[in-house]
Amino acid sequence: MSTTTELKQLYQKGKKRKILAMLSIFLALLIAVVVSVSLGAGSPGFAEATQVILSKLFPFLNIDPGSSLTQSIILTFRLPPIILAIIAGAGLAASGATMQGVLRNPLVSSHILGVSSAAGFGAALAILLGVGVLGGFGEYLVVVNAFLFSLLAMVIVYGVARIRGITTETVILAGVAIGFLFSALLSLIQYLAPEQDALHAIVFWLMGDLGAATWDSILIVFPIVVLTVALMVQQSWNINVLSMGEEVATSLGVNSKRVLTITMVLETLATASIISFTGVIGFVCLISPHIARMLIGSDHRFLIPCSSLIGAFLLLCSDTVARLVIQPVELPVGILTALLGVPFFIYILASKRRQNWR
């Protein structure tokens, strides 16, 4: 029999191990950033890349930033996709971890709540017709349309789920149904698309792409993702309790309907703002939480941040590889996330003896 003090120490030890695991992933992410900057057509070397980044991050250190050509390659072309990959990966993975926890379902991703097919439909509509729900957005027409349709999907899912009372089952069922509805509409648009160009643009958008990332898009997505992910982490205790079922949550003083609604809104805002800019990148959202769970367990206080780190790392690696495989053509990152993510997932699954799902 262990004493009370021993038990408390055991718990603290476990907590330290989790924090250490997250620090290691963070370190891996930093290394991946530097490697990614220094690879690719017309790239500066590893040392130069580090120099430019450091000189921009810490201007007071007076590090020599190198030639202006190197600087502009790194700052204008290399860094935006890398940073967007990190933000997008982190936001999508955190959303996945949150929704899987709240809905008590390991198969949940942004696809299942209809958000991504709605975004796809909105984008396709804008690409094809050149008009959005709201006119006058110029270059952001596709982005704004995708975003608005994602929100629309969430509102419909919420409304449909409310008919029988908001529970995990009704949310999942409504989400799947609305997702199918928008997929059908999307197929219809693709089928009817008159010009080859428009169809090509739609398909390209649907496969996800980070290459077009700009600092402007980062400035829009970054605050939204940071805020929504922070609010998701704030819900961690509620999500933990909710994972034991709605009745237990109620008996522990948690209003499960309220938590479900809050997390649905957060998930939609994060996912919609990301995929409106990047196109549909679904896989990190599904797989990162599982990898995180295998590494550090299911306590959402740690799981959501850890999933974010893994999501950022996975998406960054995928994007780097997508850029390098057939130079100078860049493959859509959506394809690479699955191609790289699945073997990585199987590796972790095989190397962990413990059975995590029963």
């Binding site: 055991l10 718990y11 390991p106 309790v241 034991m244 009745e247 109620t250 003083g253 367990g297």
Partner: protein, 278 residues
């Protein structure tokens, strides 16, 4: 410090069906009350109504005369703990994590020293300290039940409600759990309300028993008063022989020959589904 819990004229309808009608209960701190009755008689529903997992009319559940429907869920969860019939978790949580959830009503964001202290104490009290870092889903049914009771205790409630905590356990675990509950009532200043199927175990451990029939109280009182051959036949529809056990509590022996008299095709068997329990 609360002293008693009163249920006044509690009625509950589920999708138009009257599940509970005019139920009145009084439980004092230090008492163990068991609720018995056939499947579908409303035992689980009654517990959920008391804990406001299911909502009922105002002024039906009172603690020291105060209407609990005026409390918010969080306040109530510091007074009442609930142990459901089955506990599952889709994702891997450790035993410590699960018991820690019982501190939810007290936690804002960060854990205090006191929270982990109470969790560790409750685990040791129930005797699951050695399981602390095991995964909940890997444990046996009996161990899982203890973890969930420890979680309810971590809420530091004065009233503990349990829904058939022993029905899927072996005889040793049954006794262990009921001894824990009894000692909670007697030495830890709590009131325990437990829905049970096993009449003999209920009779041996309860201070008083409440027998439900189709959502209404059929009879209530000491085990000796409740467990009579007439009452059991009226509520369960079977003939029994009630004697005094070596320990003095009434002992129910179902008379097997009477089962042969029952023609199953003439009566519709009641199948308890997840829905009817809810």
């Amino acid at each position: 410090m609360a002293l008693n819990l009163t249920v006044n004229n509690l009625s509950f309808k589920y999708d138009g069906t009257q599940v509970l009608e005019d139920v009145n209960i009084e439980v004092k701190i230090g008492e163990m009350l068991s609720i018995v009755g056939p499947n579908g008689s409303g035992k689980s529903t009654l517990l959920k109504c008391i804990n406001r997992i299911l909502k009922t009319q105002q002024n039906t559940v009172l603690i020291d005369g105060e209407d609990t429907s005026k409390l918010n869920l969080k306040e109530l969860s510091k007074i009442m703990g609930y142990v459901p019939q089955n506990s599952t978790n889709t994702f891997p949580f450790t035993v410590f994590d699960i018991v820690l959830m019982g501190r939810k009503p007290y936690i804002h964001w960060s854990l205090s020293e006191r929270d982990t202290e109470i969790v560790a104490e409750m685990m040791n009290y129930i005797g699951i300290g050695n399981l602390a870092m095991r995964h909940f889903n890997e444990l046996s049914g009996g161990e899982q039940q203890k973890v969930i009771i420890a979680r309810a205790l971590a809420q530091q409630p004065q009233f503990l409600l349990l829904d058939e905590p022993t029905s899927s356990l072996d005889i040793k675990h049954q006794l262990e759990i009921l001894c824990i509950l009894k000692s909670l009532a007697k030495t830890k200043h709590r009131a325990v309300i437990v829905a049970m199927h096993d009449l003999n175990l209920a009779s041996r451990f309860s201070d008083s028993m409440l027998m439900l029939k189709k959502g209404s109280i059929f009879t209530v009182g000491t085990p000796n008063a409740v467990l009579t051959e007439e009452n059991i036949e009226a509520v369960y529809g079977i003939k029994t022989h009630v004697t005094n056990s070596v320990l003095g509590s009434p002992q129910v022996t179902p008379l097997i020959s009477e089962f042969n008299g029952i023609k199953p095709l003439k009566t519709t068997p009641k199948i308890e589904t997840i829905d009817s329990r809810a």
